[in-house]
C-alpha cells in the first residue's frame, strides 16, 4: 500500500472532519453523537472517507485497511482500539458524550487515520500512532480535559479543545 494514498485520503479526511467539527460541536446532544442504533448505514457510509482526491480507489473503503467506530454515551466509559494487525492503513472514529471517559488508541503501520470527539468534562485521550503518513484529528469540548498524542513519522495532528 502506498503511503501517498493514505496521506491524500488522510488529508481529505482531516478536511472533512474539520468541516464537520462545528456541526459535531453544535450537535453535542446525545442524538447528534449517537444517532441511530443501527450502525450498518454508518459503517457502509463511503462519504466519511471521500474527499477532494480524484482517484476514488485511493480512499479508505477501497483499501484493505480496517475500520472501527465506537460511540459511547454516559460517564466512566472506556474505548480502547488497537489497529495495525494487517499492516494496512486503519481508520478509527471514536465519539464519547459524557464525563470521565477515556480513549486509548494505538495504531501501527502507515497511513492510519484516527478521529476522536469527546464532549463532556474530565475526558482523557491517549493516542499513539507509529509509521508514516498518519493523521489524528481530535475534538474535546468541556473542562478538565487531558490529551496525550504520540506520533512517529510524517504525521499530522489537529486538536481542538474548547470549554463546555
Amino acid at each position: 500500500m502506498k503511503p501517498r494514498r493514505f496521506i491524500l485520503s488522510g488529508a481529505a479526511f482531516v478536511a472533512a472532519l474539520m468541516l464537520a467539527g462545528p456541526a459535531l460541536a453544535q450537535g453535542s446532544s446525545e442524538d447528534s453523537l449517537l444517532g441511530s442504533l443501527d450502525l450498518k448505514p454508518q459503517l457502509g457510509e463511503t462519504s466519511l472517507f471521500s474527499g477532494a482526491d480524484d482517484e476514488p480507489e485511493d480512499h479508505g473503503p477501497d483499501d484493505q485497511g480496517s475500520f472501527a467506530l465506537i460511540r459511547q454515551s454516559g460517564s466512566g466509559n472506556l474505548a480502547a482500539l488497537n489497529q495495525g494487525g494487517q499492516g494496512h492503513g486503519a481508520y478509527a472514529v471514536v465519539a464519547q458524550y459524557g464525563e470521565d471517559n477515556l480513549v486509548q488508541l494505538d495504531q501501527c503501520a502507515c497511513g492510519n487515520v484516527a478521529a476522536v470527539v469527546q464532549d463532556g468534562n474530565a475526558n482523557l485521550s491517549d493516542i499513539t500512532q507509529s509509521g508514516a503518513g498518519n493523521v489524528f484529528v481530535h475534538f474535546q469540548y468541556g473542562d478538565a480535559l487531558a490529551l496525550s498524542v504520540t506520533q512517529y513519522g510524517g504525521a499530522q495532528v489537529v486538536v481542538t479543545q474548547t470549554g463546555p
Binding site: 446525545e30 449517537l34 442504533l37 450502525l39 450498518k40 454508518q42 459503517l43 457502509g44 473503503p61 477501497d62 484493505q64 485497511g65 480496517s66 475500520f67 472501527a68 467506530l69 465506537i70 460511540r71 459511547q72 454515551s73 454516559g74 460517564s75 466512566g76 466509559n77 472506556l78 474505548a79 480502547a80 482500539l81 488497537n82 489497529q83 495495525g84 494487525g85 494487517q86 494496512h88 486503519a90 478509527a92
Partner: protein, 357 residues
Amino acid sequence: MKRYLILAASLSVLGFASAQAQVFPSPTHDNSASITQTGNLNDARINQAVNNIYNGQGNAEIIQSNSRGIATITQTNATSAVAGGFDNTASIDQRRNRDTATIDQIHDYASTRDNRATILQVAANANATIQQRGDKNTAAIRQVAGSVTPTASIQQNGLSNTANVRQEGVNSLVTVRQGTYSDQVGLSQDTTGSRVDVLSQGLNADIFVSQVGFTHTADITEDGANGTITVSMDGARNDVLVTQNSTDGIIDIVSTGTSARNDVTVTQELTDAGSTARVTQSGTFGTAVITQLDNQAGGGGNLAEVTQTGVGVALADILSTITQNGGLNEAFVTQAGDYAQSGILQTGVGHTATVSQ
C-alpha cells in the same frame, strides 16, 4: 403389512396435531398403524419396514395417556427403494410423566417426497427423539405446558429439511443436528437449505444446534432466564438468528474454519442483564450483529465478544456491530482479516469497548 383397523383419535390438542391428523385405515391403501394405550408402563412399537422391506407409504400413530410410556416408530427404506412416490407420516402423543418417544425415518430416494414426524408431550421428564434422513423432511417436537425437564433431540440429513422444537418446561434440553446423521447404509446426501426453529419459554434452558452444509437457517428464541444457547456452523451462507428475552443468558455461536459468508444476529433484550454473547467466525467473510438492551430496568453487566479471523476481499466482508445500554457492559472485538469493520454503540455508565484489528 398388517393393517390395524383402529380409528385415529383426535389430535386436535393445541391445534398442533391437527395438521398431522391421519386417517386409519388409509383410504389410499397405504400401510397404516395406530396404537392407543392407557395405563402405566406401556410400550408401543410400530415398525413399517421390517428388515428394511418396504411396500408402500406408511402412516403411524401412537397415543399414550399414562405414565412411563415408551413409544417407538420406525419407518425406513434405506436399502429398499419403492417405485413411485410415497411419503411417511408418524406421530406420537403422550400425556403423563416420564414418557419416551422415538421416531426414525429414512427415505433417500426423491426430493419430491418427504417424511413427517411429530411428537407431542404434555408430561414431566419427557424425552423425545426424531431422526430423519432424506429430503424435505419435517420434524416437530412440542413439549408444552406442564413439561418439566423435557429433553428434545432431532437429527436430520438431506436437503431442505425442517426441525421445529417448542418447549415450555423448565430445565429443558434441546439438541438439533443437521448434516451429520447417517445411521444405516445407503445414500445420504449432503445437507443444504435446511431450517431449525426453536422456541423455549422456560427457565434454565439449554439449547444446542449444529448445522453442517449450505444455506441453512437457525432461528432460536428463548424467553426464560439463565438460558444457554450454543450454535455451531460448518458451511457457507448460513444464517443464525438468536433472541433471548430474559436475563443471565449465555449465547455462544461458532463458525468453523471452512465456513464462509455466515451471518449471525444475536439479540438479548427487554430486560437483559448479566448476559454473555460470543461469536467466533473463521473462514471467509462473516457478519456478526449483537444487541444487548434493557429498556425496562436499565440493567447492564453484559458481555459481547466477537472474534473474526476470516478473509475479506471487499468492503465490510468482515463486519461486527455491537449495541449495548445500561451500565458496566463490555464489548470486545478482534478482527484479523482485511476489510474488517467494527462498530460499537454503548449508552450508559462504566462501559468498556475494546477493538483490536
